[in-house]
């Protein structure tokens, strides 16, 4: 296959993944905005900020609805992945989101490149370690922030599952987990996700993949070289 026969673009995320992502970031933004004031309630801007969201009572309701929606979105995603496996989706080193030893080598390689100690950039598969970090951070967040948030939103229901010996300290711990990990999630998204998908040279103002689901062959070649080689071995040989 020569370069001429290559498609102009390929699909990276199907419509289901794109909808899941839209629900994820909408609820994420709502949760960040409505929950933020509770992190530092004693400072003046917090009371002002929470009034924008309808006051603490309304903000609390928005927060709970958004939180439950996000958890359902997450469960849908996991269930959908399960469904794809039953439909024959295969795990391949070059296309998987699962972290592999190679990712660590890529991290080191990339740092060396940043520092000018390596002339080449690492070649990534469908998901670079940057994407994998971004993706699994959501799983971490769902586990810590999602579960603690659920217990705080439905405390009477949740209390029946806590063993007797935890009752003296579990609630303050859950609150700290929810609050500190939420701060981590917000700052992580601000730096990692915004830089890599919005601010990076060639991406600004954003990568449009979230809407179209498509990636151009040019971008595929440069940003996902190993996936390109895997998908179009003939063309890759010609390069």
């Amino acid at each position: 296959m020569s370069n001429k026969e290559l498609p102009k673009e390929i699909e990276r995320f199907n419509i289901i993944f794109r909808i899941q992502h839209i629900i994820l970031f909408t609820t994420f933004l709502l949760l960040s905005f409505t929950g933020w004031a509770l992190k530092y309630p004693e400072v003046e801007p917090s009371a002002w900020w929470v009034r924008i969201w309808g006051g603490p009572e309304i903000a609390g309701k928005i927060h709970r609805v958004a939180g439950v929606t996000m958890l359902l979105d997450f469960l849908w995603h996991v269930a959908y992945l399960g469904y794809l496996f039953t439909k024959g989706m295969k795990i391949r080193a070059v296309t998987t989101i699962i972290p592999l030893p190679r990712d660590i080598i890529d991290v080191i390689h990339n740092y060396l490149y940043f520092l000018g100690l390596s002339k080449t950039k690492p070649k990534f598969g469908r998901f670079s370690y940057i994407h994998k970090f971004d993706y699994w951070a959501v799983f971490w967040g769902m586990g810590i922030i999602g579960v603690s948030g659920f217990t705080l939103a439905f405390p009477v229901f949740s209390s029946q599952f806590f063993p007797e010996f935890t009752l003296g300290w579990i609630w303050p711990l859950l609150r700290i987990l929810h609050s500190d990990e939420a701060l981590l999630a917000i700052v992580f998204i601000l730096f990692w996700h915004f830089y890599n998908e919005h601010l990076k040279v060639g991406k600004f103002p954003m990568s449009w993949t979230w809407l179209t689901g498509k990636i151009s062959i040019e971008d595929l070649k440069h940003e996902h070289a190993r996936e390109f080689e895997y998908l179009f071995p003939e063309a890759a040989k010609d390069e």
Partner: protein, 306 residues
């Protein structure tokens, strides 16, 4: 000039809808500041507008200041009802300024007064004969200006309760003297309920929601609403279906070394947070630096970013 001023005030007051209180208020609305009396320093000023707007606005002065009926310049005299008279020695412990008037609350509020006398607050005054512990005015403010508790100016309005209770419960001398739990106001502010309260949440529980008000008990009293079965009931007021297991949650326990798991848990989390920040921020900054270097200083031919 001063005479003219008084004349204006008197004329103005006579225009106020007739009430016998006007006789007293002619002077007491115009008089400013405090005066040294035989029994202490008295604030002689009455803000008539605020008084008229208060829940007691249509009272006669002598309804409470009942021994001042004969005129302003004669010593107080006259009969006092037995239920009021009985309170006077106790009220006098706290304030010598017209204790008759300060005891007169009982005439209209006998049930609440009884509750208060039996509470841990009342016990301190009526049994232990201490000078600390709140009577009506300490929480509700001056009876001349009491407004319904739904009014945000009320000292016992939801938004002001923390401050009102804090007057004593944040006072280190009082806390030490009676061996009360220290830093309770601060602890509450640190709690989940407290954080929402500070943001202006109107339904979140505040001191009296759980501890009660006139009928307040010591926290570990047998009929306390904040331990055992009482606490389950108290939590259930808001958290429908609250169980003993649910009520075991600490309402406002300090997040400090006294509760080591959350305390050191938070320290670990902070370590994790900074670890992740360190990685992400260094990565982003270095990558941005590399991009700039590549695009500005090493213009590659035929490269991806031309």
């Amino acid at each position: 000039m001063t005479k003219f001023f008084f004349a204006v005030v008197i004329v103005a007051l006579l225009c106020v809808p007739a009430a016998a209180s006007t006789d007293c208020l002619i002077c007491h609305s115009a008089m400013q500041g405090k005066m040294e009396g035989r029994k202490g320093v008295v604030d002689v000023h009455i803000d008539i507008e605020k008084f008229a707007d208060s829940v007691h606005g249509d009272f006669q002065c002598t309804d409470c200041h009942m021994t001042y009926g004969t005129g302003p310049h004669t010593p107080p005299s006259g009969d006092v009802p037995a239920d009021v008279a009985e309170l006077i020695p106790f009220v006098s412990l706290k304030s010598k300024i017209d204790p008759v008037a300060q005891s007169a609350c009982v005439i209209c509020h006998p049930t609440i007064y009884k509750e208060l006398r039996e509470s841990v607050h009342g016990e301190n005054i009526f049994v232990k004969k201490e000078t600390d512990g709140p009577l009506c005015l300490d929480c509700h403010g001056s009876p001349h200006y009491i407004v319904p508790k739904t009014d945000e100016n009320s000292h016992v309005n939801h938004a002001n309760v923390l401050h009102t209770c804090g007057k004593c419960h944040e006072d280190e001398k009082i806390v030490e003297k009676y061996d009360m739990s220290a830093h309770v106001i601060e602890k509450y502010k640190e709690s989940f309920h407290g954080k929402k309260y500070i943001l202006g949440h109107k339904k979140v529980p505040i001191c009296n929601t759980c501890h009660g008000s006139h009928n307040i008990t010591k926290w570990d009293a047998p009929d306390s609403p904040v331990i055992g079965e009482g606490k389950v009931k108290t939590c259930g007021k808001c958290h429908a279906g609250a169980t003993k297991k649910f009520a075991a949650a600490p309402a406002h326990k300090y997040i400090g070394k006294e509760n080591p798991i959350p305390y050191y848990g938070e320290k670990l989390l902070i370590l994790l947070v900074f670890g992740v920040f360190g990685f992400t921020i260094s990565h982003v900054l270095l990558e941005a630096f590399a991009e700039i270097r590549d695009n500005v200083f090493r213009k590659k031919k035929g490269g991806h970013h031309e």
